[in-house]
């Protein structure tokens, strides 16, 4: 198994390199000159040239790429060209905020989805299933930012019980205050993660229920609850555990829209602002970071699968 894991890691490396290359070329091809953001029209051409040299923009593309890549590996992510801050520091201060929001929402959605999906799948075609599946279908059609707006309207403007924006009232370090800010984006995100996961659990439950072993259990007169909890759930949960790995990138970029609506000081608003302000170094780092997480996440989920499922473990 170690050999398999090692092989998967080795395979992931070229993919990562290609991604960084694509990100870099993509941004370099952008129809704007990064220098424009750092200079003013009043500067003399010599001055502009000096800045160009200082930041290494006079060098050919591949040299700039190698330098940039070297920087990334050493944790030197460069500086934002709009406000000059260190991207590394920005990320370090923002990523925990995003995780604080995404992790609880995802865990809640996950647990709810497993429960609801199992119930729906086990009672296929009955009332409970119609209800749960109906909820999932509607949920898939609802834009998350719209839910966010409705919640803001009801709880922020009409009932005035929850604050509209941010993570804390300025100057306050109170936990209650934090929770008040937290609850709306948390609900919205949970709702956003829920329908897809319900669908997934439901359809794998249905597949499991059509297997022979369920029929055998039935023939032996096993109770339905016994079949669900003792037998079906095990097989349903297996692929779900591996889905956890694939959820890794959501920890960073899973809440871009929700965070933006609520001005939650995470990666979302940072990224959206960078895109609107053409802040290339920032965009590039987020692009690479999020794709790296996707690749690591897929790797993790393959390895997890291998660890939890003895059938696969033996096969590799």
């Amino acid at each position: 198994m170690l050999k398999y894991i090692f092989k998967r890691i080795i395979n992931a490396i070229p993919l990562l390199l290609i991604i960084t290359m694509i990100c870099f070329t993509l941004i370099s091809l952008a129809p704007y000159d990064a220098i424009d953001a750092m200079t003013t029209p009043k500067m003399s051409p010599e001055m502009v040239e000096l800045i160009r040299q200082k930041y290494g923009y006079d060098k050919p593309l591949y040299i700039r790429y190698i330098r940039w890549l070297g920087g990334l590996i050493n944790g030197n992510f460069g500086y934002s060209i709009v406000n000059g801050t260190s991207i590394f520091n920005d990320l370090i201060s923002r990523i925990p905020n995003t995780i604080k929001l995404v992790l609880p929402s995802y865990v809640t959605a996950y647990i709810l989805a497993i429960i609801l999906g199992l119930i729906a799948g086990a009672n296929r075609g009955k009332k409970a299933d119609t209800l749960i599946d109906g909820f999932a279908s509607v949920g898939l059609a609802v834009p998350t930012f719209w839910i966010a707006m409705l919640l803001i309207y009801v709880f922020g403007y009409k009932l005035r019980v929850l604050p509209l924006l941010g993570m804390n009232t300025i100057g306050s370090n109170d936990l209650v205050d934090y929770l008040k800010h937290f609850v709306m984006p948390y609900v919205v995100l949970t709702f956003a993660f829920l329908p897809g996961n319900i669908r997934y659990v439901r359809s794998s439950t249905i597949t499991e229920f059509s297997q022979d072993y369920v029929m055998v259990q039935r023939a032996f007169g096993a109770k339905k609850s016994e079949i669900i909890f003792k037998h079906v759930s095990k097989n349903v949960l297996l692929p779900i555990v591996t889905r956890l790995g694939m959820a890794l990138p959501t920890l960073v970029t899973g809440a871009v829209i929700t965070e933006t609506v609520f001005s939650w000081p995470g990666i979302g608003p940072y990224f959206v602002k960078a895109v609107q302000g053409m802040d290339y170094p920032v965009i590039m780092v987020i692009l690479v970071l999020s794709s790296t997480l996707v690749i690591i996440g897929n790797l993790l989920s393959d390895v997890l699968y291998c660890v939890v499922d003895p059938r696969i473990r033996k096969a590799v």
Partner: protein, 283 residues
């Protein structure tokens, strides 16, 4: 083969007629699409401002009220829907054409071509989608066409995978092998024999593709990187509604509900068509 087709058609039709919600969804979509097409013929003025009547609640004169500069919100919503639906359909067409061609090529030719194309799919799919689309949208001058191209150009991967898998199994079937053995032109084999066989898959994923494209467009426009003024779409209207949320909730409710209904309806019909693909699962 012929009989099977007939049976599938019959099953799908029966399922459709039995499912009241699906009928409703179809009627709703036809209604929305017809309104979008004939919008210019209707007595609507989406751009006429009227500063004396701003942010008025829905009334007889203005069915959906007026917006922050006094434009008739009903007209805005109709024209917004026109944009949303257009983006949905055109982006879907683009991604379907791309996805089907790439999937066909990869599946039919196999070997190096398949390997290369699938690695490209891997690479594109390892960038989180919203992030990718957002970044790519920087390259284009903001407008209707670019949003269609951006969404269409980056959502073909799933359909390409589906088509590839299907073509790979079809390739092993006798009638296809016989056709290649007879020396029939590859293009002709693809068009005459493979295409009809994968058509149901294409239609199903195209239907949900429209829904996805509409959703993406609304999210991008909401973030301010999609459709730009003076054009509007439902997502763009929601973005504007954000600043008038406190007093004019109808401005957020109406386009939002329309997005939900539209996407739900496309998904609903897509799921129904799946019965055609997998009749065994439907019973």
């Amino acid at each position: 083969m012929k009989n099977d087709k007939k049976r599938r058609n019959k099953m799908t039709r029966a399922a459709f007629l039995k499912d009241k919600l699906a009928i409703l969804a179809a009627i709703f979509l036809i209604f929305i699409i017809v309104i979008s097409i004939i919008a210019p013929l209707l007595p609507l003025e989406a751009t006429k401002t009227d500063v004396l009547h701003i942010l008025e609640v829905p009334s007889k004169g203005h069915w959906f009220g007026t917006d922050e500069i006094g434009r008739d919100y009903f007209a805005r919503v109709v024209y917004g829907g026109r944009v949303s639906i257009t983006v949905g359909i055109l982006a879907m067409l683009m991604s379907t054409v791309l996805g089907v061609s790439i999937g066909m090529l990869a599946g039919f030719l196999g070997g190096v071509v398949d390997f290369t194309l699938m690695r490209i799919v891997d690479v594109i799919q390892s960038i989180p989608w919203l992030i990718l689309v957002t970044v790519v949208s920087i390259f284009f001058k903001k407008g209707l066409l670019s949003i269609i191209v951006v969404i269409g150009f980056f959502s073909w991967m799933e359909i390409a995978r589906l088509v590839r898998a299907e073509v790979m199994s079809l390739k092993e079937r006798e009638y296809i092998q016989y056709a290649s053995f007879l020396g029939i032109d590859t293009v002709k084999i693809i068009l005459r024999h493979l295409m009809p066989a994968v058509m149901p898959t294409i239609i199903v994923s195209a239907t949900s593709g429209i829904a996805d494209a509409i959703m993406t467009e609304s999210a991008l426009s909401f973030l301010g990187i999609g459709i730009q003024e003076p054009l509007s779409s439902w997502g763009k209207l929601l973005q504007a509604a954000q600043s008038n949320l406190q007093n004019s909730i109808y401005m957020a409710l109406i386009p939002g509900l329309l997005i939900v209904f539209t996407i739900f309806s496309f998904n609903k019909l897509g799921n129904l068509l799946r019965i055609y693909l997998e009749p065994s699962r439907a019973s």
